[in-house]
């Protein structure tokens, strides 16, 4: 049983530097991650750089956890990109904009591998 969080996503400067270089290791290291408050990290029993599985009603991904004091307890922040968006519904409620922020999610410690960009995109095919 994981911890319930409110998932949001957004830009980071390293993500921005790699906007035109999304197949790079630097982009992977920066974007395939989830920032959590220390209290939530302790609750999950994960240390920094350990993997967590983030699940919503629309998908699940494995990413590296990172402790961030600026992220409040109960909030999970993922840099915008393919890993965060794998968890987002395409439904815009007739308004044209998907709900990229404020998604009910569940996080648990995971021993699974973090999928690389190419591997993640492969999951959409077939």
């Amino acid at each position: 049983m994981g911890t319930k969080v409110n998932l949001i996503s957004g830009r980071t400067i390293v993500q921005g530097r790699n906007l035109d270089s999304k197949m790079s290791e630097e982009y992977f290291d920066e974007v395939a991650r989830c920032d959590l408050n220390k209290a939530d990290m302790d609750k999950l029993g994960v240390a920094a750089e350990e993997s967590v599985k983030v699940k919503t009603s629309y998908g699940e991904v494995v990413v590296k956890a990172k402790e961030d004091a600026g992220t409040p307890e109960g909030i999970a922040f993922m840099p915008m990109g393919p890993w965060a968006n794998a968890l987002v519904s395409g439904d815009t409620h007739g308004a044209g904009m998907p709900s990229y922020k404020g998604i009910d999610a569940e996080i648990e410690k995971s021993g699974d591998k973090v999928l690389h960009v190419k591997e993640l995109m492969q999951t959409y095919m077939g």
């Binding site: 409110n6 949001i8 957004g10 830009r11 980071t12 400067i13 921005g16 530097r17 790699n18 906007l19 035109d20 270089s21 999304k22 197949m23 790079s24 629309y58 998908g59 961030d68 004091a69 600026g70 992220t71 409040p72 909030i75 922040f77 915008m80 990109g81 393919p82 968006n85 794998a86 968890l87 987002v88 519904s89 395409g90 439904d91 815009t92 409620h93 007739g94 308004a95 044209g96 904009m97 998907p98 709900s99 990229y100 922020k101 404020g102 960009v117 190419k118 993640l120 995109m121 492969q122 959409y124 095919m125």
Partner: protein
């Protein structure tokens, strides 16, 4: 070595135009000053798509531009419901050809606004936008509010060039004589600079806008002790700062466009700005992301009457975000082919929408390989606008600026590829007698 001054950055909506670079042997070798680290990264360059390619048995196989043009035109001519998407990281000249292509083939044309400031566009159509240029903000504003935005990471030069840190005609003391208010869910690099940081509960922006509106209209008695995680005391302090400002400027980001109330958040933000007008001068501006997302909104508007999510299949322009936005079309599995240019839906669309995009024929026009390339069926490498090609773009405050060409490219420009696809589509249609 040649030093080039007044270089214009083609990365984010700030479109900084005071960059100095060094060029040697047809390469940008150094960014000397003016650019933030994100812009510098763009100017110095990245790995490129090397050759046009067509997917055969699951693998992209290099081909000639002629072969790729022919294949792309065949896909678009045969499509019953094509989607032409992106357009924000290229120049207006290419965007104009894109609208012509959409009209010719009867397509839905949408741009990246639909996943960033689309809700802002809807709100502006609803209640207008009391805004001003970034130059006005630089020269006049003594109170800056960033709401649901983290410019220190997302628009790294914005504060330095245009707002809190900049020095202007009537703001010659810079930040010493200015106040900074940050409203955000997370404490960020930006919030650490703030005079007042309102850390709000996620999704409660609408309530906090309403509380400040009430206070600005003199009705603080109706505001409870806490609104959206913010104390009434902090809200009153912010309202007093707004009233006392000579000129206030609010900038808002995707913290407000991406959450529950969507465009209603922005309507309320604009109404809060109006409430501030009962005391002083105040403006509000969306923090546009791509360097020319404002420009594709301009081009679509002057060509079709509407800024995004436009259906041109009926013989006249039909606008309905929520039905015709790219993500909506894709989750309904409505489009049967797509052309993606100057954007990366593979990285930035919801997974649910990508599933359909990965199934249909996709034509990609882009200088750089990205997640969209992984499922694209026809790929065109192109010149990088602002480095290898010139053209007009619109800054986030809708000021047109011309990008400069710094070096020659071995690749064609976006506009040329689009024109060639358009010509080929017309030739196919003529042959078929349509």
């Amino acid at each position: 070595m040649v030093e080039v001054t007044d270089v214009v950055c083609s990365l984010c909506g700030c479109v900084c135009d005071d960059i100095v670079v060094e060029v040697e042997d047809n390469k940008v070798t150094k960014v000397k000053r003016g650019a933030c680290s994100v812009g510098k990264s763009k100017l110095m360059g990245h790995n490129r798509i090397k050759s046009p390619a067509i997917r055969v048995n699951g693998e992209l196989k290099d081909c000639s531009y002629d072969e790729a043009i022919k294949k792309a035109a065949e896909i678009l001519a045969a499509s019953r419901r094509p989607l032409l998407y992106g357009w924000s990281s290229t120049v207006c000249e290419a965007d104009k050809v894109g609208v012509e292509l959409a009209e010719e083939i009867g397509a839905v044309i949408d741009n990246t606004a639909s996943v960033c400031h689309g809700p802002s566009v809807l709100a502006i159509q609803d209640v207008g936008l009391p805004s001003c240029t970034l130059g006005e903000v630089k020269n006049r504003a003594d109170l800056i509010i960033y709401w649901g935005a983290n410019p220190a990471e997302a628009h790294a030069n914005h504060m330095k060039r245009y707002s809190y840190v900049s020095k202007g005609f009537w703001t010659e003391e810079g930040k010493k004589a200015k106040k900074l208010v940050i409203v955000d869910v997370r404490a960020t690099k930006t919030s650490r600079m703030a005079d007042v940081f309102l850390q709000i509960e996620q999704g409660k922006d609408y309530l906090v806008f309403s509380a400040l509106r009430a206070m600005l209209y003199g009705h603080e008695d109706v505001v409870p002790d806490e609104v959206g995680g913010v104390s009434k005391t902090d809200l009153l302090e912010t309202a007093e700062m707004m009233k006392a400002a000579k000129f206030g400027a609010t900038f808002f980001g995707m913290g407000v466009t991406h959450t529950g109330a969507r465009h209603n958040n922005i309507v309320n933000a604009i109404q809060m700005t109006r409430a501030a007008h009962t005391h002083t001068k105040f403006s509000i501006t969306p923090m546009r992301g791509h360097y020319n997302v404002a420009g594709i909104n301009q081009v679509c508007t002057w060509e079709t009457g509407f800024p995004f999510a436009i259906d041109l299949t009926r013989g006249y322009a039909w606008y309905n975000p929520g039905e015709l936005s790219a993500t909506d079309l894709l989750i309904r599995q409505e489009c049967d082919a797509a052309l993606v240019i100057a954007s990366d839906p593979g990285a930035h669309f919801p997974g649910e929408s990508i599933k359909h995009l990965a199934k249909i024929p996709v034509i990609q026009i882009d200088p750089f390989p990205n997640p969209t390339t992984e499922f694209a069926d026809v790929v065109f490498p192109v010149a990088v606008s602002g480095v290898e090609a010139e053209g007009n773009v619109y800054r986030m405050d809708n000021i047109p600026i011309r990008l400069r060409k710094l070096i020659d490219s071995e690749y064609p420009e976006d506009e040329e590829i689009l024109k060639r696809i358009l010509d080929e589509v017309r030739a196919i249609k003529e042959k078929e007698g349509n």
